[in-house]
């Protein structure tokens, strides 16, 4: 292509018009803080971990766990607590390992892959958490229906059929999880849209 060759010739001449920074100007630059995407991904990921742990702490402080224990679910409560903190620990370790793999000296392909992996770890953590939340709540609802008279009691007290209470509980749970998932997709999308696009572009044709 002639035009590109022409451009190549002119490209060398462009060097004359480039800015020239002095030693001091460059030195001052290295003292400044970075505002790179990696930093943002790190901060947002940490916030996400903190957010999920706070939800757990809030539920504990509000006394919901005690209510469950009163119902005879002490064992279940203990197991689910251990499980949820093991999940947290596992994901934090994986997140840290992935984060440490991010090196700007790698090729763009490897760098983008590593950043996306790091984000994926946090994404997986959030999904595991949402599923875990849904599952434990469902188990508690089922337990309450079959092994306690909480719902039966409520049904008689408020003159509402029992199936309606159960259906409502499940619908509320579904809406809550749906909203959470939607919100998460939006945040995740904004954060990695450009990165994903570039990664795909670079990998096209690669087997």
């Amino acid at each position: 292509m002639d035009e590109l060759e022409l451009l190549k010739k002119d490209w060398k001449k462009q060097e004359e018009g480039l800015p020239k920074l002095s030693y001091d100007q460059i030195y001052r630059m290295i003292l400044k803080k970075s505002s790179s995407m990696i930093k943002w991904i790190f901060i947002i990921s940490i916030v996400e971990f903190i957010l999920w742990v706070s939800i757990d702490i809030i539920i504990r402080l509000s006394g919901k766990y005690e209510e469950i224990e009163v119902l005879g679910l002490e064992g279940f409560s203990l197991v689910s607590t251990i499980l949820s903190y093991s999940i947290l620990l596992y994901f934090i370790v994986r997140f840290y390992q992935n984060y440490r793999n991010i090196q700007t000296t790698d090729s763009p392909a490897v760098l983008m892959k590593n950043i996306l992996n790091t984000r994926r770890t946090v994404k997986q953590y959030v999904w595991v958490n949402i599923s875990f939340l849904a599952l434990t709540t469902l188990i508690i609802i089922i337990y309450m229906v079959f092994y306690t008279d909480v719902y039966t009691q409520q049904s008689t007290d408020e003159h509402i059929p029992i199936y309606l209470i159960i259906t409502t509980s499940v619908i509320v749970l579904a809406i809550f999880i749906g909203l959470l998932a939607l919100l998460y997709r939006v945040i995740y999308g904004i954060l990695t849209r450009r990165l994903k696009k570039n990664y795909k572009e670079l990998q096209k044709l690669e087997v």
């Binding site: 292509m1 035009e3 590109l4 022409l6 451009l7 190549k8 002119d10 490209w11 001449k13 462009q14 060097e15 018009g17 480039l18 800015p19 020239k20 920074l21 002095s22 030693y23 460059i26 030195y27 630059m29 290295i30 400044k32 803080k33 970075s34 505002s35 790179s36 995407m37 990696i38 943002w40 090196q103 700007t104 000296t105 790698d106 090729s107 763009p108 392909a109 490897v110 760098l111 983008m112 950043i115 450009r194 990165l195 696009k197 570039n198 572009e201 670079l202 990998q203 096209k204 044709l205 690669e206």
Partner: protein, 164 residues
Amino acid sequence: MNKELEHSFVTNLEQNQNIVHKVCRIYTNDAESHNDLFQEITIQLWKAYPKFRGDSKFSTWMYRVSLNTAITLYRKSKRSIKTTDFDSLDFKIKTEEYDDEVEQQLKLMYTAVKQLNDIEKALVFLYLEDKSYKEIAETMGISEVNARVKMNRVKTKLKKILNP
């Protein structure tokens, strides 16, 4: 020790700053964004510098970190980028060296390059820097075949932009 490292880094960068400026030219459209990107690339280079072992040339190593910053790490400013923004800050074509037709062609070419996506810009940049396909492939982390195919596509795309 740290002072020594700082000194060797700043000296190296001062001597090779053209590479960073050229990356900034390809990826930004005004002086402010140019300086912004230059600043971020400098920080990323500095952060990676302790791991620079000198097994490759400083300049080769700079291409990677600079392109990585431009493609992946740098968050573009919100200001919209339109072709009309290409003002005198941009590529300066020396009129006295070319006839009108060539000059016009060059202007169009630079404008067309600005319309390419992030990856394509990187390929064109390395091509203009006279890098072989092997070097382009290595710098970008893709296969040589992929680099060739992609470069051909870029050429076709540029042709399309120039002759719509």
